[in-house]
Symmetry: C2
Subunit: 402 residues, 2 copies
Amino acid sequence: MSAPLHRTRPAGQGRALPDTQQGMRRRNLSRVMHTVGAEGPLSRAAVASRIGLTRAAVSTLVDELIRSGLLEELGPERPGRVGRPGSALAVSGNGPAGIGAEVGVDHLAVCAVDLRGRVRARAVRHVPNRDRSPEPVLGELTALIHRVLAEAEGEGLWPAGLAVAVPGLVARDARTVVRAPNLGWLDTDLGGLLPPGPPLTVANEANFGALAELWLGEETPRDFLHVSAEIGIGAAVVVDGRLLHGNRGFAGELGHVPVWPDGPACACGGRGCLEQYAGEEAVLRAAGLEPGEDRVGLLAGRAEQGDAEVRRALHDAGTALGIALTGAVNLLDPQSVVLGGALSGVAPWLLPSLRSELARRTTGPACPVTVSALGPEGPLLGAAHSVVRGVLDDPAAVAGRV
Amino acid sequence: MSAPLHRTRPAGQGRALPDTQQGMRRRNLSRVMHTVGAEGPLSRAAVASRIGLTRAAVSTLVDELIRSGLLEELGPERPGRVGRPGSALAVSGNGPAGIGAEVGVDHLAVCAVDLRGRVRARAVRHVPNRDRSPEPVLGELTALIHRVLAEAEGEGLWPAGLAVAVPGLVARDARTVVRAPNLGWLDTDLGGLLPPGPPLTVANEANFGALAELWLGEETPRDFLHVSAEIGIGAAVVVDGRLLHGNRGFAGELGHVPVWPDGPACACGGRGCLEQYAGEEAVLRAAGLEPGEDRVGLLAGRAEQGDAEVRRALHDAGTALGIALTGAVNLLDPQSVVLGGALSGVAPWLLPSLRSELARRTTGPACPVTVSALGPEGPLLGAAHSVVRGVLDDPAAVAGRV
DNA sequence: CTATTTCGTCATGGCGGTTTACAAATTAGT
DNA sequence: ACTAATTTGTAAACCGCCATGACGAAATAG
């Protein structure tokens, strides 16, 4: 009699549906969408050879996707080779769109991205949201969303989902903001305060920034650490092209990694957390500046002019970041570390000390540290693209909702 | 014309083969093996309801697995319910076996585990391997393997694979030991020095220990951090039931996380690494003891007797571990932290300071820290079981090699 | 102008799970 | 005891999905 010794599910089959032919079909539809989306206009034959199915099979898949409005036939390819030219297929520019929204500390932004990855509508509003209650903020955001929605629908797009980036911790349900220090929000369910209709996903802006880096960045390693500093210092861990969420969804709290364990007390209860040395407030204080509007721009400006005090503050922040990242890199062995968000603006003065600290403390070739090319747009684009990816990942789910 | 904006592959489809019916069949065979293995003897009907296929489909899958010798029919179940009793199915006890081996600093061990998870043969030899060259060590290991192999074959088992746990860093090819400080091995390919035949997998002993914890531990969270201290201090990160390897396969180097960045210089080039405070040598030194045989037992004994110096040394090591783990927990938000390997022996004196440090420095409920129940057997069992899991994960691959 | 190559499609077939039906084996009820 | 109800395992017919092979279409090469 065999005892139940193998207690855990096989890796990666966490929620695998029963493996039936319909599931197979759905996955293959997804493969077609992904390859066409990733490698530009392609003929059916080209898609077939790339995903390993036959031309006949791809034909039926493509037919279904065209009927659903997710794929478009662009017409005959201009051939350079022998043989009959293929008919170019492209992801539809007039089908579903991903609506991304961002609640920043001093702005609100919304955009619509089509399946091709193009931003088709956008709306931004500068509003100081610090310590403002959720209702009015989300009311204004809803207005912006409706504006973008109207614009997008005018172009033939329809919303496949709404993703909202917030500067705070989000619960696993992807709807409730557990804590957003700079907004002063606690346990706020955004579900009821936003337009009904499109499926809602709320996540940390650092996470969406990391996904934007993964999907849109210049180089796209599948294992990296994305560090951003809008609120405190957040990191997002991407493993094998997937975000690491953690048990409660709180993974990536780099700001409270101990750097000098006997250092100044931190709001989190600890001492000497990274935020005490490289957080926005700490850096401003060390630089002898007052907190205020556009603080990063101020820092960058002064550093550019050669202000020794500012440069020294940024140098020290880089050192602290380097120490904290040494721990993270030792633990995760990522392909690279990417600095995003506000950090990208001051990167030139942060990087030297950061890199040398990291190199000094790790054996072998140091983990490369790069700066995100997306700048402050990352989280918003990541949010919108997350919806688009959802469509590519399971086109069949969306096809019924046209 | 749509530009190639979606550059990355869909998450989790890194190496997905073309999704064809044969792949479906293989995955379903795996599902059957996993459910029967995990939930003891089951009837075809019970399996069907669990994996969501029909009884008819499961019948054909089971037939194939029985023909391949991977499943056994135990006979009619004793029924408590109405209806025709099912025929109990169990994973075969006389089919393929996983051979696990361990190269320790002062011992060699080999065991054979059948598909039911039972250890069916074992051989251990105490040998001081410190700074001994690979050839003689692996020669002796090969002899032990042959002994275990003979014993297992006598019981009707055949080796489906050989997995070797080593105290060092292993390259991504899972054959070459890049660096094993305590053995003094550098860039050693174990491929040619071990018995040919069964497919070989070499990995860090901490990783295998973590897998053992995942597969055999009392509680089995799917996201946890497994900390062990055979050589230096290694951690293994398990995310969603899967080991995190990292880019070069070096993930989990907890020993070189900076704890007090201005502390004593470390061999790695850094300063104040965890190993300087909680490594075996450091703790022995702080306790006023000389390095020697069975050092952990010595420490535990003295601590038990109430030796103040030893207790203080362990207390301080716990504090350092707590600081390093604070960083790791903040970054990964695991369900729990498990202390394994040599650490389990001294855990009683390590835990109080470790836990309090961790609790003090993290907000919300602290991440639970537990001690592995597997003790020093973990890596060996994990190695053997990794082979067994490989069979459960793809029974079709092994069925042909009977 | 013909041979060659490649593309897209159609008809056929094989494979895999589902559906439906049914016999076998047990319990529950009278 | 005997029947009704329930559950199991299997067999036959069916449907969906991809593979195979053949074909016409549309380009290039000679």
